[in-house]
């Protein structure tokens, strides 16, 4: 925990911690070109991840969380401009060559996309789809690759008799298991899971999360998990980053972020998932009025100010940084500053 403390502070100076990081993201910006204008979707995101770390990224649609995650591996189309640094084992993925990047994708870091039906190739068996990256990246024989693919599918609970089936022959939960097996195919050090359980039933969702947690425990793979469901992340990830309008607004150990949020947005988000049995939420759903700003409309001051119940005049003009907010925690809210002295 004590070493985590240093690592979690985005404003901390570079030190030995960042050098040993698996992934070190510094001031990542992603903008889209839209009708002659540049629309910022991710506006300066920094965090780092040690081997075996699990980081949850929460936020509403349009907050930039998926754009950010895709940006890490330059998976955007040509319309996106990405700047900043994404150091993966010390190598900047934003400036490295395409051939190096291709080597990192799959073997270094792989992605589990939401909606396995559209991410899987419908005309090839699931076995073939897992064999392919193994053959390409690990330069092993087809037979050896097939043996490994079968082992992987078995480890995610797909029986060997189904391996030569096509994606449409599986249920949604099984397809997501195939996606996870595929992400593991080249033994990566990092898995980026983008809403891995969104379209699934609660029971299947719990199964998939349990599977992911087990794999992480066994192999010390680091995970970045993206979802809008805060309560889900608290159980699967050690740390939690909450994003709003293209920036991280709160970062810290999951349980603490969920139980005692420092940022008003995190507070609103955590209340939106009621605890069954809690009299405060019985016949009293909690929401958050208004909508997040469109990326093209983000101006000065705190982007959340328009929806915040605790807004002050200073919020509308000052620049928001991730200020320290207790051990291992930080929040981009002016209200955390007096308590902690402020370091900006």
């Amino acid at each position: 925990m004590t070493t985590d403390t240093v690592k979690n502070e985005p404003l901390a100076t570079e030190d030995a911690e960042t050098a040993s990081a698996l992934l070190d993201v510094r001031d990542l910006h992603v903008s889209y070109r839209q009708g002659g204008r540049t629309v910022p979707a991710v506006r300066g995101v920094s965090f780092s991840l040690a081997p075996g770390d699990t980081l949850g990224i929460a936020g509403e649609s349009g907050c930039g969380k998926s754009t950010m995650a895709l940006g890490l591996l330059r998976l955007h189309g040509a319309k996106a401009q990405v700047s900043g640094e994404v150091l993966f084992r010390g190598e900047d993925l934003l400036t490295t060559t395409w051939s190096r990047l291709r080597a990192v994708r799959w073997a270094g870091a792989s992605v589990v996309f939401q909606g396995a039906m559209s991410a899987l190739n419908p005309v090839r068996t699931v076995l073939e789809q897992i064999v392919e990256p193994i053959v390409l990246h690990d330069k092993v024989s087809a037979k050896e690759a097939e043996r490994r693919a079968a082992e992987l599918l078995d480890s995610v609970g797909i029986p060997s008799r189904r391996m030569r089936s096509y994606p449409h022959e599986f249920s949604g939960g099984q397809r997501q298991r195939v996606m996870i097996a595929m992400a593991l195919a080249c033994r990566p050090d990092l898995i980026i899971a983008d809403e891995p359980t969104t379209a699934l039933d609660v029971m299947v969702q719990a199964q998939i999360l349990e599977l992911l947690a087990e794999l992480v425990r066994e192999s010390r793979i680091a995970v970045i998990m993206i979802t809008h469901d805060l309560s889900l992340l608290a159980h699967t990830c050690d740390r939690l980053a909450v994003m709003y309008a293209g920036r991280i607004v709160e970062l810290g150990p999951s349980r603490q972020v969920l139980d005692s949020p420092k940022h008003p947005y995190t507070r609103a988000l955590s209340r939106a998932f009621p605890t069954i049995g809690d009299p405060a939420s019985r016949l009293a759903p909690a929401g958050l009025a208004g909508d997040p700003p469109r990326p093209s409309e983000v101006g000065d001051g705190c982007a959340f100010a328009a929806r915040c119940s605790e807004v002050t005049e200073a919020c509308r003009t000052g620049e928001m940084l991730l200020w320290p907010a207790g051990p291992g925690r930080s929040a981009a809210c002016l209200r955390v500053r007096p308590d902690h002295g402020g370091t900006s």
Binding site: E60, D201, M203, A206, A272, I276, L283, G287, L288, D291
Partner: protein, 334 residues
């Protein structure tokens, strides 16, 4: 809650079944397989279940979009008449709100036309602008005039769902059947739409059946809950009864997988995929996935008969669970 009148239900189904004919080498699918359910005047009932349990089919049967193979749908004690004219009349009173507002709205139709669609179909065009204005205001889109000329792509997900709800309200219905009304919405918007549904009940006395997989939604807005599994309601009662003191092993499992605040959270994972309505197991339809059955000794199994004895269909407004292991005889032997 005293003004909820369950004695004369707004909407009721009796022994309802919907069987889809066999296709693609599979047998007939018994999507709804014997259901009693009632929604009282001004009452909100949550129908909870996993995908494939038949909850959406039941919702469609309630609004007359699916004709039941057996049993009845009753609106204010009158069985539904499936002639085209009677159905059209019926749909003025019972409106369906679907999950995905983006898909429910015509992208080429502005908000005014989307909300006016229902009244126009029913020839209620006398004071149409006023009807549309009221419906939008009731759905929380204020000032309503600002939204008239806007198109779906210019609205956020929450606003789109409000337009869909306004479209339902424009016909001044007495019952709303909502199929996963917040599943595709963001967390903060979810709460706002649920607040709206509670307000509509309080202000307009609307009754609602809300179909969802989300037990938290039931805790947030419902008076009663029915839990559906493979075409049957396996447990129902007030929200407090079912969610705080669940009796059926399936309800218990569903509740256990919700990430809780507790450090020692231990979900009860049901093995296997959601079951298949073309192959409903004999006896208790849940027994192949039931933890209690799996843990039972041979003697207990023989005594309970979970794998061979049919369970009775629960009465429409009973607080009960359909489980052999809960019956007095089973408890004695256990």
């Amino acid at each position: 809650m005293t003004d909820i009148d369950t004695r004369t239900p707004a909407l009721e189904v009796r022994d309802l079944s919907v069987v889809y004919p066999a296709s693609g080498g599979r047998g007939p699918a018994r999507a709804v397989d014997g259901v009693n359910l009632s929604v009282g005047q001004g009452e909100i009932v949550a129908l909870i279940g996993e995908s494939g349990c038949g909850k959406s089919t039941l919702a469609r049967a309630l609004v007359g979009l699916v004709k039941p193979t057996g049993g009845q749908v009753l609106y204010q004690d009158t069985p539904l008449d499936y002639s085209a004219i009677a159905l059209k009349q019926y749909r003025r009173h019972t409106q369906l709100v679907l999950q995905d507002p983006g898909g429910a709205l015509n992208p080429k139709q502005n908000v005014y036309d989307a909300v006016a669609l229902g009244p126009r179909l029913h020839g209620l065009t006398d004071r149409l602008p006023e009807t549309v204005r009221n419906a939008l205001a009731q759905a929380g889109l204020r000032p309503p005039e600002d939204f008239f000329g806007r198109y779906p792509h210019e609205l956020s997900g929450g606003q789109q769902q409000r337009v869909v709800i306004a479209g339902a309200l424009a016909l001044n219905p007495s019952v709303i059947v909502a199929d996963e009304p917040v599943a595709s919405l963001d967390a903060s918007v979810r709460g706002e739409i649920l607040k709206l549904m509670l307000r509509l009940r309080d202000d307009l006395g609307l009754s609602a059946l809300v179909v969802s997989h989300d037990l938290g939604l039931a805790w947030n807005i419902a008076d009663r809950v029915a839990v559906m599994y493979l075409g049957r309601i396996v447990e129902q009662g007030t929200v407090e009864e079912v969610l705080l003191r669940p009796q059926h092993p399936y309800t218990q499992a569903l509740l256990s997988v919700i990430p809780s605040g507790a450090e020692d959270w231990r979900p009860t994972l049901l093995t296997g995929e959601p079951p298949d309505p073309t192959a409903i197991p004999a006896g208790c339809r849940f027994h192949p996935r039931c933890g209690r059955w799996a843990a039972a000794s041979a003697d207990e199994r023989a005594a309970s008969g979970c794998d061979r004895r049919e369970l009775p269909v629960l009465a429409p407004d009973a607080s009960a669970a359909a489980c052999h292991l809960l019956s007095p005889t089973a408890l004695e032997t256990a």
